[in-house]
Symmetry: C2
Subunit: 272 residues, 2 copies
């Protein structure tokens, strides 16, 4: 169960709720998997409280230890205990400045009704760029510092995931280690998604390099239809394809045993 | 949602599976909650891969940053990629030595059938003491270093939790910040534990300082009976009692709304 061999990525999770155990850190696992699939070696994860000094320490430490990509989650909201931007500014030794582009994003969300705590979400380390938030209100932050590309994302999983998929992932894919990629689409009839989930979960455990997404397609002639989109990465095109085949065969076999009809679709036209 | 005000505790999670996102780190949340309830300030969590140098770095960093208690999970098993003891020995600059007491524990588990990989689990930093594992086979490790009390526990949650409750918690309670503690016992009739769980979960979210454990007591006159044991900590006896009352009232109200009969039992004779 090895780490990917690519450039070093570090994860930083900000939030007291993670340290006092009120919330389980699912964001770190989600990001770890995605960065691994993109070919990055996820070298470590740091969990720190909502304190400027601790946050600054985490970013300094990640860069000192060789991180080329850093993704943080949490601490971007409007309240006094959202301190990630300030902590990063302290680490970088730059001012926390009002970002006009971010302010515009926030103004649109609130139809112009700005308050001090809303404006706060537009304060970023000088030189940073905002990342649009298609789900919530707090913009993300992107900045380069000492050879590392740093992304600050919100802690709410739905916002974090949407921003990673729309902004961070395409960027990392264009810059990154460019691992080879292969994919397959299985159309599964006759099994509802809830019964499918444990099989998909087992399949995910078989591979650190594959990712499976299920897309329910509703009913057809009274039967549930779900598409399973399998993606796998490898250092060569052949190893990526072999990995996809291995996972697709496992899924087809296990689902047929549970009474499903499984057909293989071509990916090209059907990519979600 | 503040951290507890007591001495600094750090958590270290060892395992590639956490960084590639194959496993969600529930251990960190569980330990964070328990240490908070014991009055420790959980200052940070470090997640590192199964690599000696990274593990050594994590322990050095925690001590350098002022941790008085360090609890690690993972990396104690018999396979080649279980490296936590070795990493700690490197950090401490001491030898990894065969511990006779640990070897005896392991011998008993396997009825004397020792192999090289089993003996490996008895190798610990010189000066360390083994912690019995009542659930699995790998002993834990306890050692003092540079003013910090360090506990290495296995990554399997059931083993980690049992060893924490039987060994680490009593020790920390006797050494620790001695926060005041209060408790209450609610006997709940007429609602099965599965319907009770979401209410208990909501109640746990109301308080960083309270902990609720449910003990199903089977059926009585055809009704489900479950005991809820509520514990809360505070810096004074009064604040601990108020916290327990707050959580107990919430639980009683919410469960009665769902049709349960709730009675208050005295703790003294009924402690689990």
């Amino acid at each position: 169960m090895g780490l990917a061999p690519g450039p070093e990525a570090w994860l930083i999770s900000v939030g007291n709720e993670l340290l006092i155990g009120r919330v389980v850190n699912t964001n770190m696992a989600w990001l770890g998997r995605r960065l691994t699939l993109l070919g990055y070696r996820v070298g470590a994860g740091l969990v720190v409280p909502d304190e400027v000094e601790a946050i600054a320490w985490a970013f300094r430490t990640a860069v000192d230890r060789g991180a080329k990509v850093i993704v943080s989650t949490g601490g971007l909201g409007p309240t006094f205990d959202d301190k990630t931007s300030e902590g990063l500014a302290v680490a970088m030794g730059v001012e926390l400045a009002l970002n006009e582009e971010a302010l515009k994003m926030i103004e649109e969300k609130y139809s112009g009704a700005l308050t001090e705590s809303r404006v706060k979400m537009a304060r970023m380390p000088r030189g940073a760029r905002p990342i649009p938030n298609p789900v919530g209100t707090a913009p993300g932050v992107e900045v380069e510092w000492r050879g590392a590309l740093i992304f600050l994302l919100p802690g709410v999983p739905a916002e974090m995931e949407a921003m990673f998929e729309r902004h961070v992932e395409p960027k990392l894919r264009s810059l990154g280690p460019r691992p080879h990629c292969a994919e397959a689409l299985l159309r599964v009839r006759g099994v509802p998604e809830s019964l499918l989930a444990p099989v998909v979960e087992e399949a995910m455990k078989l591979s650190a390099l594959a990712y499976i997404k299920s897309h329910p397609r509703g009913s057809e002639l009274g039967q549930h239809v779900v598409d399973l989109h399998i993606t796998a990465y490898g250092s060569t095109a052949q190893s990526a394809e072999e990995e996809v085949e291995r996972i697709a065969s496992y899924l087809a076999r296990e689902l047929q045993r549970r009474g499903a009809q499984v057909s293989r679709a071509s990916c090209a036209g059907e990519m979600p």
